[in-house]
Amino acid sequence: MRLRLKDLHLAQAGRTVLENLNGTFEEGAVTALVGANGAGKSTLIQAIMGELKPTGGAIECDVPKERRAWLPQQLALDLTFPMSVEELIMTGTWPSHGALLGYCGPHYRKARDVMARLGISHLAHRPLGELSGGQRQRALLGRTLMQEAELLLLDEPFANVDIETVEVLAKVLRDMANQGTTIIVVVHDLEQLARLADCVLVLAGGHGQWTTPQAILERHHGGDQRHHHAPILPFDLQNLS
């Protein structure tokens, strides 16, 4: 067990968003978090990151804070910030390396490896503001690789990125999971859900239900993954198993 939700209740601005949420996120598992806008996906992520205090129940997590990584939606970042790709990736060392010490050789070597893995070596010194959406998303994932995250939360990582980047991101995420990283990813696209997720947590009507990618695909497309583009939301909780 890396992360467990125990009878969790969450509220935003005095309004209950999620209640009686239970479940376990296992080591090395990729969990897709799906639900309509306002279903509570971001609220749950905030709570897991320790940003929002539960109104009831508990979140148990055995991953130390410095190994919890968070990949926000791209638009949440200040894109005019004067920082290069390499500098952004190096901030991933900050949680474990501390705020006072400078970077050393092994850090730079590791950053170069990370950039090569993500196919952005040639962009190392380019400012963030000059990157495309896909390039920026790769750089952000590079930071989490640098951080050696054991728990990784991603909010719509495939939104507004090109197909090649989707391939690279999916491969890197799968590799991270194989090495034991617990991954929770908000997705809106069934194709991504089918290729990435080991299990699915559906949020709707203030409740959560655990299911499998197959169950969702069968429910919406009769099990055929080739002829769909977007999920039909909200999900019908009653008919999922």
């Binding site: 320790g50 804070k65 990584a69 968070w70 200040d78 004067p82 901030t91 900050w94 949680p95 705020a99």
Partner: protein, 296 residues
């Protein structure tokens, strides 16, 4: 030629008051622009102005209690600045009122209170001194205070530099690591208050913010890198404070406005002719060729 140079740039510094003023200006130039760069990057360029108003009641109260004693006035300024910043933050958190609106409200109250206090206990000359400063009247005590505060700010900035950078770019990343929301923000605002307090003796409460913001906004036209922004801003602040002082000496102008005007001329020049995002850069766009090695 050498004589002209000597008369313009060297001779003025034979005077003790010019030496102290120059050192005070250079000390402020080291500490203020990096704060200005961070304020600008956080989209808080006008907060410095608001903060400048916040220190006024404390300075005025110090003046009323102890006369023209710089340490007492500075202490008053620091306390009232921190109090008002804290109050604005608390009201914003407790009521859901936006922080900028809460700050604007408190700082306007502060300005009114400060001017009222000075008027009650002093003359319009005192008020002018507090509002616009007098760099040529910097004595040794003031110089030591300015140098000590500037050094403390540079040291504190060095210590919290990475946290500030990360907080500017992605606050959630920082908070995710357990750094309490508001801690870095609060410390940073405290440094801004400290800097304005150091600057008010020389430039006045209203213009101290000029040496903080103008070099920072100027640097934005010349660099896209954080260290470049900081370096250029500090350099330009040093040139403006020393140059402004010399202009003030030779042309019999008030020193504070001369310094800030020179910094402002740099800003206008950069906006027209700077390397990035200036009018010139927009009119004469050019593109670098594709990097041929990448596609291999």
């Amino acid at each position: 030629m050498i004589e002209l140079f000597n008369n313009w740039f060297i001779v003025p510094f034979d005077y003790g008051f010019m030496q102290r003023a120059a050192v005070a200006g250079l000390a402020l130039s080291l500490a203020a622009p990096p704060l200005g760069v961070f304020l600008m990057l956080r989209g808080m360029s006008l907060i410095g102005d608001a903060m400048a108003h916040a220190i006024l009641p404390g300075v005025a109260l110090g003046f009323l209690l102890a006369g023209f004693s710089l340490p007492v006035m500075s202490l008053g300024g620091i306390l009232s600045g921190l109090l008002v910043a804290g109050l604005a933050g608390s009201v914003s958190q407790m009521t859901g009122h936006r922080e900028d609106a809460a700050m604007a409200s408190f700082f306007l109250i502060s300005l009114a209170a400060g001017v009222m206090l000075v008027s009650l206990g002093g003359s319009s000359v005192d008020l002018t001194h507090v509002l616009f400063g007098s760099i040529l009247a910097v004595n040794t005590t003031a110089l030591l205070l300015i140098a000590a505060i500037s050094s403390a700010i540079v040291l504190a900035l060095a210590l919290m530099f990475r946290a500030l950078v990360v907080e500017c770019l992605d606050p959630l990343f920082l908070r995710g690591q357990g750094v309490r929301h508001g801690l870095i923000h609060g410390l940073f605002l405290a440094l801004v208050v400290l800097n304005l307090t150091a600057g008010f003796q020389t430039l006045g409460t209203l213009m101290a913010v000029g040496l903080m913001m103008l070099p920072a906004t100027t640097a934005r036209f010349w660099s896209k890198r954080l260290e470049g922004l900081m370096g250029i801003a500090v350099l330009w602040a040093m040139v403006a404070s020393t140059g402004g002082l010399l202009l003030s000496y030779h042309l019999s102008l008030p020193s504070g406005p001369s310094i800030i005007m020179l910094a402002g001329i740099g800003y206008v020049f950069s906006a027209l002719l700077g390397r990035y995002n200036s009018l010139r850069a927009r009119l004469y766009r050019h593109a670098t060729p594709l990097e041929t090695g990448e596609t291999a």
